[in-house]
């Protein structure tokens, strides 16, 4: 998973730099890789095929860009194609002239309908509406109870009764009118698309409430089955949109693409966690990144916002930008970063991380990180601020205290010094953040931030980034130093952290 598509393509197309354009054979090779990436992301086989065909048309005869490598150029074409497919018009929720506006949720068992219903209620409330929930899932034990508890948390009324779903839906709508609620969200039981009886039942529920919006709730980790499920529900209910759930996992989410292509309706909302607040409008560009395995910077940032100690984060960033970076700083930052998960895993969420760093980090065991941490903890504060003061006897003490050898301590001190020098050198940090890949990272981050409403009214403006890098930078020699390529390594990050301080 850490061999991002661009890296793989780089391998195939890297040698093309001198030639003027992509040959047909180059394109075919690249398209094979793209197809594999899409299939690994759970995109439907047929949808992947038509996507690849579309990308082929884009690439044929295209001249090689001066500023992007061939691999990057192909990825860009794919990325744009995905956004085009996933995007199009966003769903604009409009409200019925005669309230209530009815929203019907349907989907397979376990897709997250009940939680989504509550989240939708909260979302509508934030829009200034007065929603009400109807619990028409009478199949799953305690489903109504679950919805009741969630409704209470959101602060909206909930209606249900021990009857059949159609009757509950009908009466629920009447109740909503009676109470003057302007939005009605109907939760239904999970059902198999091939269960004719239950599909007929949901058709009847729909007939009885006449929904303005019918959403298919689908799990982001759904595989090839997404298409047949979406098609069946669309045929039965005439969907208006799709809600994608459990995006806080690491599923690439190709199902989103499959469903969008099949049903042709927008993906309206994305659910990104178990809390009611983890719910927002869908972002096609973020999804495109994810499907291509290109990382999801905004998810990382949101996660960090949740987990990081704000004060420490600000101090660290300020210090780093000034070129200050001590073992003390490093220890504090390590604690923060660990809260986000294993190092390799977190790094994979950042786009534009130099390939060497990503490969090396993915090979890093959390145990090794723990060892590094132990060594630093065995130092006194003064030693951390001034490592040059660490003589032989201190090294021995540190080694004993951390259960390592003096060689390990020596190595850490030596490499930390190297890292400090690397970071202070004018090319490096700029290279990391402003070089070709860094530029992409900074660009992705600034795009992402422009997108995210929580981070500011108008985003960062065209071309700007918090690190002041250019939009399409030339390939800077990003920093010297020994960047050994580490082959192999872990495919997936170790989830269980070994260090302290979760």
């Amino acid at each position: 998973m850490f061999d991002a598509l661009s890296d793989r393509l780089e391998g195939i197309l890297g040698r093309l730099r001198s030639r003027g354009r992509l040959s047909d054979r180059d394109i075919e090779e690249a398209l094979r890789e793209i197809r594999t990436a899409l299939l690994e992301a759970d995109v439907d086989v047929g949808v992947a095929r038509s996507l690849v065909d579309g990308i082929r048309l884009r690439l044929v005869g295209e001249t090689l860009s001066k500023s992007l490598s061939p691999g990057q150029q192909v990825v860009k074409a794919v990325h744009e194609e995905l956004i085009r497919v996933l995007g199009g018009e966003t769903l604009k929720v409009t409200f019925a002239s005669a309230p209530p506006t009815v929203v019907l949720l349907a989907g397979l068992q376990g897709s997250g309908k009940t939680t989504t219903a509550a989240k939708l209620a909260r979302w509508f409330r934030q829009q200034g509406r007065n929603p009400m929930l109807v619990g028409a899932d009478l199949q799953r034990p305690a489903a109504v109870e679950q919805l009741r508890i969630l409704a209470e948390q959101v602060g909206v009324p909930m209606y249900s009764q021990q009857a059949d779903p159609v009757a509950v839906a009908r009466t629920g709508k009447e109740e909503a009118s009676r109470l003057g609620r302007d939005v009605l969200i109907v939760d239904t039981a999970g059902r198999l698309s091939i269960d004719e009886e239950l599909m007929e039942e949901v058709r009847q529920v729909s007939a009885v409430v006449s929904p303005h919006y019918t959403f298919l709730v689908i799990d982001a980790m759904t595989g090839q089955d997404a298409v047949s499920t979406a098609r069946a529900f669309h045929d039965a209910l005439e969907l208006d949109g799709v809600i994608l759930t459990k995006l806080d996992g690491d599923a690439r989410g190709g199902a989103a693409l499959s469903v969008k292509e099949t049903v042709g309706r927008p993906i309206a909302f994305a659910s990104t966690g178990e809390r009611l607040a983890d719910f927002d409008l869908f972002h096609p560009d973020r999804m495109a990144n994810r499907i291509l395995g290109m990382g999801d910077a905004l998810t990382l940032i949101e996660q960090a916002e949740r987990e990081f100690d704000k004060g420490v984060a600000e101090q660290s960033a300020a210090a780093l930008l000034q070129g200050r970076f001590t073992l003390e700083d490093f220890l504090a930052q390590l604690q923060q970063v660990k809260k986000l998960g294993s190092l390799g895993g977190v790094l994979s969420l950042l786009p534009g991380v130099p390939k060497e760093m990503r490969q090396a980090s993915s090979a890093v065991d959390d145990r090794q990180v723990g060892q590094v941490e132990a060594i630093i903890r065995s130092m006194t504060r003064r030693e951390r601020l001034d490592p040059s003061s660490i003589d032989g006897s201190r090294r021995l003490r540190i080694a004993k205290g951390s259960g390592t050898t003096t060689q390990d301590v020596n190595q850490l001190l030596r490499q930390f010094k190297e890292a400090q020098q690397l970071m202070r050198s004018p090319g490096m940090l700029g290279g990391l953040l402003g070089g070709a890949k860094g530029g992409r990272m900074a660009q992705a981050l600034s795009d992402a931030m422009a997108d995210a409403p929580e981070l500011g009214e108008s985003g960062l403006g065209a071309g700007a980034s918090p690190f002041g890098s250019a939009r399409t930078p030339a390939r800077a020699g990003a920093g010297g130093g020994s960047k050994k390529k580490k082959k192999g390594g872990r495919v997936t990050p170790k989830a269980g952290g070994q260090g302290r301080g979760r």
Partner: protein
């Protein structure tokens, strides 16, 4: 070299994330303040309640007499084929057209590949299977589409049969604990209901532990199953420490003479470090005297795509999963990801869920599974 990369990676992350937070906060301070909507309490990162007893709850947590429940009629185990493929799906079309062809050409291979991919077998595993078959065709061992398909079936079957024994482990004379884990919405609680039914019919004295203390009404859901099956349930307060509930259940089981505790846990994404840590703790606690953890079952939804492999890997790593329960196989999904899971992790499928009712559970049969793929 390792430390160098760790340092650089951490510095980079800290800078990027920290820097963004700085800018974001500055902007927010300038922006018009927005009223924050009330949010429910976040999931506790690390339980602080010491593991002794489940927190006291008003009223009995366990009914003294297990409710009678539904009569234990020996329901016929639903046939896998009937439960799994009510419809002749896309795959059957492929297989039919493949059989119709007598010779093997590039199209044949493409069709086989597509059929396997559509079953969620995955790119890597499909590639390996095809390569093997192609080698054997080139070597003259296989000729004709029929032979190739038969060989493919056998490859799949033998892969899934794996190490051999797919039975559920039970140590007589001890308080067995079977832990059910998995991501959100896969069917852990429903599966426990079904397993409880079977095991009770098999003569075991079963107790359920409502170890999902996070999800609203999760304990009620399990209690409903308990009533249905006629099996007692131990629960704690909502939002309480799940390890405490499991510990309490095991203690009670030992005291009351139950020989099998089925422990439910909250759904959790394998990527959430703190939740995985919580699960590790639950497993540790479950195995404390007199508990004997004889099965850790990963419940996996058959509709899951390639992410299923990542789930299996992480849960296996964290809590030593002993087997997989593949649920919702009565739908259109084929569940082919279990081939990759067996092949790469050596994790066998032990049980298959084919419906929402208490009898909709069958032991995994590799040959029947493959037959249903080819149906």
């Amino acid at each position: 070299m390792v430390a160098l990369w760790i340092v650089l990676a951490v510095a980079l992350l800290a800078l990027v994330v920290g820097g963004v937070l700085v800018v974001g906060r500055a902007r927010r301070r300038r922006a018009v303040g927005r009223p924050a909507a009330p949010t429910p309490p976040a999931r506790p990162a690390a339980p602080t309640v010491p593991v002794v007893e489940a927190p006291p709850v008003a009223g009995p947590e366990v009914a003294e007499e297990a409710p009678p429940g539904e009569p234990l009629v020996e329901a016929a185990a639903p046939e896998l084929r009937a439960g799994m493929g009510k419809t002749r799906g896309l795959l059957s079309g492929y297989w039919r057209s493949l059989r119709a062809r007598s010779s093997i050409d590039a199209q044949t291979w493409d069709d086989i590949e597509e059929a396997l991919l559509r079953a969620d077998v995955g790119v890597a595993t499909t590639g390996a299977l095809l390569e093997d078959l192609q080698t054997r065709v080139r070597g003259g061992e296989l000729s004709g589409a029929d032979a190739v398909l038969a060989a493919l079936r056998e490859d799949l079957r033998s892969t899934l049969a794996g190490a051999g024994d797919v039975g559920l482990r039970f140590d007589p004379g001890s308080t067995n604990v079977w832990l059910f884990v998995g991501v959100n919405g896969v069917g852990k609680t429903t599966t426990i209901g079904k397993v409880a039914r079977r095991q009770r019919a098999a003569g075991h004295s079963v107790l359920l532990a409502a170890g999902d203390t996070f999800r609203a009404a999760a304990a009620q859901q399990l209690e409903t199953w308990g009533e249905r099956i006629g099996v007692p349930v131990v629960r704690g307060a909502e939002g309480g420490d799940p390890s405490a509930v499991v510990f309490d259940a095991v203690q009670r089981a030992a005291a009351r003479g139950n020989d099998l505790v089925l422990a439910d846990t909250a759904g959790r994404l394998h990527t959430k470090v703190n939740l995985v840590e919580e699960l590790k703790k639950i497993r540790r606690v479950a195995g404390r005297e007199p508990g004997n953890v004889t099965e850790v079952l990963l419940v996996l939804d058959a509709t899951t795509g390639q992410n299923g492999l990542a789930q299996a890997r992480q849960f296996l790593d964290a809590v030593e999963v002993t087997g997989v329960v593949l649920t919702k196989l009565d739908g259109t999904a084929k569940g082919g990801i279990v081939v990759a899971i067996q092949r790469e992790l050596g994790l066998p499928v032990k049980l298959v869920g084919v419906g929402e009712g208490p009898d909709d559970l069958i032991p995994f049969d590799p040959a029947a599974f493959v037959d249903a793929l080819f149906a």
